[in-house]
């Protein structure tokens, strides 16, 4: 059983929900990423989604776009992200790591090389924002062969037919995009997410995490009872927006940790469905 599957099994047994912070590898500076990952786990993260910096992050709102730019300013790319995961694994063999990014850096490395190196580095899964199942057959097969999970998005615009199709190829979990828009958008509507999750559950037994638009304990607590996990991205990444290159990033990391602790408590305190 993969790290992701066993995590969701354990959480289900405990009646708990996964808390999934998203950070960009190399943001605000590569030297902080592994430390930050450990701190997030200590603060209550169950899975870490590690963003692979890309020059053209088409699906991101302004906050995460800037995070990609900060990471790229330090030449952090897929190779460095894999090294960071390998370093993280020396001290943490338990917390699943999912790489989240865009197709081109993975394609440039080569699907086969990527699958092998990701597996060797201790990565658990990949979510490629701009690679829907129709284009993913080749990489999915290669990832499956080395035991990596392939995570796909489902959107408010996904038809039932598509939900079935995406679910058939997905492993690990499904990532439900809570709204029409880019990351960090502010118009979360819990009722429509509830309806969307009901459709997804009709066609899949995979755990479902919800992301886009979760910015604090309250929004996380509102969604957690409906799904198996919540993803926090922009609100977390925004903590690094005003970091001064000359200074130590400890205060920003402390703020990030505080946010994750707040959301952890809110999610754990939310009534079960």
């Amino acid at each position: 059983m993969s790290r992701l599957s066993s995590l969701f099994t354990t959480l289900a047994e405990q009646g708990r929900k996964a808390l999934v912070p998203y950070i960009v590898a190399g943001d605000p500076d590569p030297r902080y990423t592994v430390t930050l990952m450990h701190e997030l786990v200590a603060a209550g993260a169950d899975i870490i989604e590690l963003g692979i910096p890309f020059s053209d992050p088409m699906a991101e709102g302004p906050v995460i776009q800037l995070a990609h730019e900060r990471a790229l300013a330090h030449n952090t790319s897929l190779n460095q992200a894999l090294d960071m995961v390998a370093e993280f694994r020396r001290e943490d063999s338990k917390t699943p790591i999912v790489l989240m990014g865009y197709t081109n850096p993975v394609e440039r490395m080569g699907y086969e090389t990527f699958a092998r190196q990701a597996s060797d580095s201790g990565v658990d899964g990949l979510l490629t924002v701009d690679m829907p199942p129709e284009e993913a057959a080749e990489i999915s097969a290669l990832m499956k062969a080395v035991g990596l999970d392939n995570i796909f998005l489902l959107a408010p615009t996904s038809s039932e037919q598509r939900i079935a199709k995406v679910s058939a190829l997905a492993t690990g979990y499904l990532y439900c995009v809570s709204l029409k828009g880019v990351t960090g958008a502010g118009h979360l509507d819990v009722d429509s997410v509830r309806a969307q999750l009901a459709l997804i559950k009709k066609h899949s037994t995979l755990p479902v995490t919800v992301g886009f638009g979760i910015k604090d304990g309250a929004s996380a607590a509102a969604l957690a009872p409906l799904c198996e996990g919540v993803v926090v991205g922009s609100a977390l990444v925004d903590r690094f927006a005003n970091w001064d290159h000359e200074a130590d990033a400890a205060p920003q990391i402390a703020q990030a940790v505080a946010l994750i602790k707040e959301i952890r408590e809110a999610v754990d305190g939310a009534p079960t469905n």
Partner: protein, 407 residues
Amino acid sequence: MSSSKNNVDYAAFPSKEGHFGRYGGRFVSETLIFALDELEQAFLRLRKDPAFQAEFDRDLAHYVGRPSPLYHAERWSREVGGAQIYLKREDLNHTGAHKVNNTVGQALLAKYMGKKRVIAETGAGQHGVASATVAARLGMSCQVFMGEEDIQRQALNVYRMKLLGAEVVSVKSGSRTLKDAMNEAMRVWVTDVDDTFYIIGTAAGPHPYPMLVRDFQSVIGREARQQCLDSTGKLPDALVACVGGGSNAIGLFHPFLQDEGVEMYGVEAGGHGLATGQHAAPLSDGRPGVLHGNRTYLMQDDNGQISHTHSVSAGLDYPGVGPEHSWLKDIGRAQYVTIDDEEALTAFRKLTLTEGIMPALESSHAVAYAEKLAATMSPEQTIVVNLSGRGDKDIHTVAGIDGIGID
């Protein structure tokens, strides 16, 4: 020619999934899939609908001013002393470039699909102007995304768009040029996907855009083919067109693909020269990858990050290219070459002085290559050059290079 060896049925591409060989496809986030499905279904239905086709043809004739002439540049041909050069005068279209063929078609699609608002990206501003124009005519609201850097380079077109009632949104992310404008348009589309129609300006992007832009622009090649037969009694020996995203080139090439004897040359922006890395020539010096919804040749580094590009012409300053061109390159049906900034500027002046026709800096790349090519051919042979746009918008740029301020 390689086409006979390949024995390809070009009309069968793209595949149902939008692939041209290994290129093209649909690399977008899940939220947009339904919008692309909806667009594809509407297009496949409407292109067979006589009422839609009749309205499109009528608009092309009476609004755009088609057919555009095929002009025999006799004086220039004589000076070059080789093949006879014919110019397909897309510069004479309403709004001054080939772009309007596509925006008229896509705006009509938007109208038939009941969309009230259009958005577009633009580099040089020609596609933005063409989009603002058709939106004004149909009473739709229009938002044009343009890189901050391009807004400075193309002040005249920015003002034209505003006069036409469009909102021009300055894009300040990434390299602040066309690629970033396209990223931003995609972001806005994903947010307002229900009522917004995204008019992509070139034969790139996720399926079905490369197919539908090609089909709308193919009027260029269909006319040119017939005009050649009418005026010379035979098909041309070669076609030459500039390639940024490649919509004017695919529009000219596509109706000739099945004609084995017709050679095709796509001219990319060599910028300061291929060796400098400062250019916009992905087919000549790039590698396949995925950007803006399709797999195609891209300018990128070893980590798969998209490279900054350079060209004197904003309309060619783009790191990708339409997927059909990538495929035509790989199977050898078309050749892709480069012309650098300086050669393009020389051709701009040459055509202006010799024929009294001022080409856009984009089209000047095709003009420059045609001159080289013609010199290697005989006077019985003919070349058709797609004069994709007029140079009025570039006068500031050229004057600046000459050290002349004309504000």
